[in-house]
């Protein structure tokens, strides 16, 4: 399986898959000018990975901010993972947030409402 490591920019997070079966979207924020151009390769990688690697996958989000277009792209990515879970795959999702920013905790809660897979909100220590 191809590895994945997209470095963070001013407007996009680092996206990184590590050998301990974790896919991480963190170290940054998400408000690119062209959301599709950024997320399409991530979704394509994820589809290929889920098809090739039957083992469990943990996906962790720790974003400082995401704009509304990114939030739609992220929901599509989460729904893809949720389909995998419904099909018998093992997926865990963690949404890490800064507890002083209520909006990001709410965003995490609202993503969870649309999902049936294991999904956990985690307050980051300040």
């Amino acid at each position: 399986m191809n590895s994945l490591d997209i470095p963070a920019t001013d407007t996009t997070p680092r996206v990184h898959h590590n050998p301990s079966a974790r896919l991480l979207l963190r170290e940054g924020e998400s408000y690119p000018e062209d959301v599709v151009a950024f997320y399409a390769p991530v979704v394509a990688w994820l589809r290929a990975h889920l098809a090739a690697e039957p083992g469990p996958l943990t996906v962790q989000f720790a974003l400082r901010y995401l704009n509304t277009s990114s939030s739609k792209a992220l929901l599509d990515l989460l729904l893809l993972l949720d389909d995998h879970h419904r099909g018998g795959g093992t997926v865990n999702v963690e949404w890490l947030y800064d507890p002083s920013v209520e909006v990001m905790r709410e965003a995490g809660e609202e993503f969870g409402e649309d999902l049936s897979m294991p999904y956990r909100l985690v307050a980051l220590a300040n």
Binding site: T11, Y31, S69, S71, K72, L75, V101, M104, E110, E113
Partner: protein, 176 residues
């Protein structure tokens, strides 16, 4: 007693990604805001600035790098923040925006949350390059209903201004 508003940030011109990042940094560095209020201000600025970049009829910038042009002003008065964003749009687009702002005014926080959830799951509305969610999110972040001003020009275009009021300190967090 009314105190004149003090301007915290203003940009007039094309809203390139670089401009949006630089202005966003300035806004995040403002003193005397709660972390939640800082986040809502940044989020509101990014949505408005990216709207201008995508939808403004007025385009500017270097050849090949043109973006929508307009003006965003962030000001503070009496413990409140106001984000004003204006750009040129067609009369049809101005009317559609005014209708959407009027419809959002009727919704309370719970209804806005439901609308946001439904809209995020739906395909983007026709003509929207983004998710069509920006206005709803701004209404959710605002401390009072969104307002607008539509000023017709001699050339037939409309200078449309969004006005988004924001708290400078967030309300006490609700336990969940």
């Amino acid at each position: 007693m009314s105190v004149p508003a003090s301007i915290l940030l203003r940009h007039n011109g094309p809203f390139t990604s670089e401009v949006i990042v630089a202005c966003g940094r300035e806004l995040r560095a403002l003193p005397d805001l709660s972390e939640d209020a800082r986040h809502r201000l940044f989020a509101t600025f990014v949505e408005l600035a990216q709207n201008i970049a995508r939808y403004s009829v007025e385009r500017a910038g270097p050849p090949g790098g043109e973006r929508g042009a307009g003006e965003v002003t962030v000001s503070a008065a009496e413990g409140r923040l106001l984000v004003a964003a204006s750009n040129l749009v067609s009369p049809a687009a101005a009317a559609a925006l005014a209708d959407q702002i009027a419809a959002l005014k009727e919704l309370d926080a719970a209804a806005l949350r439901v609308l946001h959830r439904d809209r995020r799951r739906a395909p983007p509305p026709p003509g929207s390059l983004g998710a069509g969610l920006g206005l709803i999110e701004m209404a959710r972040n605002a401390s009072a209903p969104l307002a607008h001003n539509a000023e017709p020009r001699a050339d037939g275009l409309i200078r449309f201004t969004f006005l988004v009021p924001l708290a400078s300190v967030s309300a006490v967090s609700k336990p969940t």
